[in-house]
Subunit: 231 residues, 8 copies
């Protein structure tokens, strides 16, 4: 098997590689888990290479990975595994993950789990879509005290400009494929978020909870980790 | 010249034909104006055929029409002409035209002028986009007392689900071509409005202020004009 | 489980929330049913919160909801459930649901059931596509006496401008995903309806019978419910 | 100049080549005219090579062609030139060109002029869009006696299934770029015509009056020209 | 069950209705078969209403139809049924169905069966794609003697301009969904055929063998059926 | 004139409103400038409301704004004006704006000017596209010491994953409309950036230098401004 | 069965036909295998017609082909069969197949197997995506000594301009459908490769490993096979 | 001015950088010309850095470049400049540029001029579109003796599979934006070429004559330049 894992990524970027399982066979995922485990053991410290994440893992992927790394943490809703299973002690700013509807939960959970295992403090807020605007307006304090906000929404994605217009913090917007017809599998939410009338929004790919959590973790580390940038 | 105007439309539908000028020559528009004037004179009553509207009229179209109908009302911002120039006495419910930004004003004005000349009472509300949410929330009374609300917005069009989620009245949504890049000339706003998480929204074509005003006029006439529908 | 139902919607908008089942698990739907039932019981009146609708419910969703609300009305063709099961006494104007072909029936039925359970009188007209124009022309009386007409059509959606051109009433247009190839899952019908040469058309999302029925119910309530709007 | 005209086309197909001017320089068009004239003179009979058509010719193209072929027929509305200027004696069946609105006239005229100069009898019917359905229904006799019908329409193109559903004759459908927003420069009409619920429709490119006239001329020649096909 | 079959179509258009099965339930198809059979029996002549075709019928649709019309002709490759099973005595011109590759056969067969059961003489030519150009060039006689040619091709659809450029007869082009990636389920072939550099092409929807056969049957009837059009 | 400026934005979000000039008339821009100046004077401090930016201003817009605010800073390459003209004393982290090619400079400049006038230290790096990879690799130190990196690129946008894969800092990606054909006015770069194989990328709209600079300013403020988030 | 194989292709083009299995039935594939075997036997030399390839063969296709050609080589990862099973003795230049990620392996393998069985020397390089740029930079010698390089990549396809910018050799780019959301099944990688800022790239269809291998084999034969072209 | 020319490209890739003028100001182009001239003079040999090409240069760009490099070769049809003006002595194989129609000439000329100035022997063949197939079939000898063939075509691009199916040599396909309506500015030709049923085709961007000429020059150099690859 010809895998060429980027073991250097944690040293180079501060965050380890993740294995995107969806277009890989369970065997390929298991093979990656084994290579990682071997390398980590050679270094003699499970977390020396950072936390390894497996994303978009269905049950067969999960079983294959757990065969190699039995103590890995598996969240079937987020379709993820993390190893080592315990998130690092949180540093940097606070990440708030806001989710428009129940259908968007798996993506929101993927974002939250990613940011947490990359070392940030994470809070969540669910089912606060703009069709019942009082729900999000009731949570202004949570919004105003976060260092970075991840907004997860499908359909027309209108929660993004509404949140971005209320806060100082940067917003990471994640369109989801929730909806039908003219939502075009998330394309409408994606375009809507890119066209947000409120500035301060960075958009990631449709359903890309992992990418959103990763970016939020990096943003929340600004100042904290880069050291004396602001002196 | 081979025009075949639908003189029967006012009798059949309650609203007269409109001449869409953009893809016509000024000569064709003038010719239509002349035919209409002649027919109206034969009937002996300027408003017997209803109000004739010219839409998307640039200056050359306007001059050509005014040559035939010198007393027509011309609004260059709305790019419209109306004849007879005075709107009919208003009947039916109240139409509220809400506009997200200054750039959307021409379309909002086209909607308002159309509804007014088709016989409805019309109010307007401008520059209340969701990037500064307090602006629309401050106008809830106006929103709650309207019989039908026309929402005009470009970019991501998020004003539509926000308004629809607050009111009992049906919402007519008009996407505008305001924006650039991923707004795709209004397509993003169009798709966003069609995907509104709040129900109660009927969408018209991009920049179609005329269509929105026409539909709003028809909606505001329900009950009032159809007579004993609800007894 | 983290649901955040919009119990306030009936008070605010006059129509209760609906649960869109397609992207939810049966457990999430059942959970929503339970929360609703509990809240209604606390208020002591099943219809105090309005009628709760479940849309796009397949058999597993339906079973989960019925486990909580055994007397809910379930229409498998419309893929809906309603609770309380009996529609309210109808008020407002008359809704006519017109359907181009047999393949469009599920969507038409969803529209009709929605409008009926939101409190309107509803009639239906099926299989009257323009390929055999005499079928729709034979029903002009039904068309002319309706207060609002919902037109449901797939393929090229030409029934919409034909109907809109014949009547005074506003038309709610619902494109369906019926067809193949260049119909693009309803996109062609959607664009065609948005481009209708006859004004007076408000379009909803592809296959969105629920949205059409909701909007039609609101339109038919104009005048009747808003009180003295037309005096 | 390196032109390589298909002089053989009239012998091979029964119809001569046409020069599409829009993406050519006036010099290139003039050069083509000269080569054609020289070849025709060598043969000693202006019509030996068939009728040469220039399509999409603006004024500068027209002047360049007329410098070479001063007696060519120039129709600025159809943006065409024909040489020899007199159409051949008509043979084959009758072509009817039906046009939805005044804005579609240039394309309809291109179709009619093409079919006429390729040797067919041509009639036209203008401004009969479905928004006022009585207009087309009043012309059923003309529709029923044509051998082939060209339907030219922009916006939603609904005239096509309406006409096709009424007649025995094949229909050639020409979408036009008339409209704005969701008409997408004729794409909506194109898709709508391809999705026609009434069979019997062959579609050509947007604004392609020439192609429609050519195809109609070929269809109307079936039986007449192919000789004893049906014996 | 609420079917509204267009029994009048054979009298009006010369060709009976077809039932598009794909988006109907087997029950709906069986119901249509029963209504048709009853009506035909009442008239006392199986072919009085013309030939009823069922298109896009899978095995369950076929069984349901055959339960009602046990002598119907069923071609599982063409996914069609015809009743009465014997095609009418052929009249009019000759239809040639040309097919680019083996993968396009089901659509080609649908076209051929449709034209044959609508009363035309039909010949076929298979596997003559342009990648091996000698294959189509070897069949020029068949091409030159046909009255109308149906060209069925997927991928880039280049067979269409090649054939159209060689013949006098009109070409009906049918794009198929054969291919992957940038063929976009037939869209590329569709656009390619609409953009054919050779005139004389009428295009139908992707995979629409039925529509192509219907149109070809109508074209081949020109002259033969319309009577003295060419005198 | 009916402007409704969001004067509250600086207090609420920390950054003042910007006026997007492209779809406004010069008069509307001038009017906005006057309202702002009046309000600022009433408060008695030019910078009390934050820095007002005018974006996408052509020469006529600029002249209109300068008529009201003669000391505003005008950068014609960035198509922007800023008032007050002097950027605030920089706080927070460092922003690095990286630009793939000379053609992308106007957008890069808009991003840099925005971030600078919103209070950040900004550096730039130009003409470092991946076709000559040594150019970007030679600047790794600049990349590694920035707190947030804005990458501006047209065509295929490959600079984004290359940069993101090298650094710890979050990347704000700005696709530009530079290119032709299959670049589709920036859509290809947009999609490419959204699909980046390297995580840590937040994307803004095509050519949206303003949005990128705003987001970068917010990100670079994390830690510095939000106070004790990381203690 | 009506197959019309292009037996002449090897003589004409130097490479035999391939059978694209995906849209064919196993029976059709088996029939093609049989015809080929018979023809080859008649000629008396298995390789006289060149190597027959079957592409996109799933297990049922493979079994059907092996029933006819039991010694055919079957690679289930590449989804291909080749007969005769042994590749010809390599001639011409060297082909290097470079693959961005593990998920792209099946397509890369299809390209490599095709080029090898068409007679070229082939090497491969896997898992060298730009997110960890050191991986590709470490292989510059392999890149610089290849005569033609096939680059296989999904997602944003940025490996293509990076490789093309480093080498003298022509690059054949193969976008893959790996990814989700805004990768649009390979469309983003396709457009990105077509828009490459580094010249020297020829693009083939999404997932078209066969086409890439074929083109690379032809390119690597230039000079070697065409004889004295460069003298 | 901040230009960062890739002077190293000729040494690294064998071909110098080209300046794409379309989105640059004349000043930027002139600046690039000056930097290049200065560097070349410093090296003391005009061709030491290879040939500098300017592409997509309109008249103002050309004047600006010629002010710096007065002896540069300027071809206004190809919209290019080359310096030094004399192409290098040709090496490697022969490039044949084939052009479907007169309207495609500018792109064909850009391809030919590029390949010639990158050091290859180039021949051309014009106006050989498939609508008159005899034209290309008459030139089979030229096709069969070329080492690489560039095919330039707009509309449906069918010339590509026709040529590729006839020859051993690799084909570089260039779609052009010639056409209207459903040709979508070259997209249809692009997709058609990517979907070619004949293998052996590498596609470049729409209207990208430069890219095609560059790739063809690289392909024709295989064997000749890479030295002993085929021994």
């Amino acid at each position: 098997m010809e895998l060429n894992l980027d073991f250097d990524r944690h040293a180079r970027r501060g965050y380890a590689e993740a294995v995107y399982c969806e277009s890989k066979t369970p065997e390929q995922c298991q093979h990656a888990a084994r290579q990682w485990a071997e390398r980590a053991r050679r270094v003699g410290d499970d977390s020396a290479l950072g936390t390894l994440l497996f994303t978009r893992a269905d049950d067969t992927h999960a079983r294959a990975v757990l065969a190699e790394l039995p103590d890995a943490l598996h969240d079937p809703v987020a379709r993820m595994l993390a190893w080592p299973p315990t998130p690092p002690e949180p540093t940097g700013g606070r990440v708030l993950v806001v989710c428009a509807g129940t259908s968007d939960l798996p993506v929101a959970r993927e974002a939250a789990m990613t940011a947490r295992h990359l070392g940030r403090r994470v809070e969540t807020l669910n089912d606060v879509g703009v069709a019942g605007l009082h729900r999000i307006l009731a949570r202004r304090e949570a919004l105003e005290t976060a260092d970075v906000i991840v907004v997860v929404a499908g359909m027309e994605g209108a929660l993004v400009p509404v949140v971005a217009g209320l806060v100082k913090a940067p917003v990471v917007a994640v369109p989801t494929s929730v909806g039908y017809g003219a939502t075009f599998g998330g394309v409408t939410a994606l375009l809507s978020m890119l066209s947000s009338c409120a500035p301060g929004v960075g958009v990631v790919n449709i359903d890309n909870g992992y990418g959103a959590g990763h970016l939020a973790a990096q943003i929340a580390a600004v100042g904290a980790l880069s050291g004396g940038a602001n002196d």
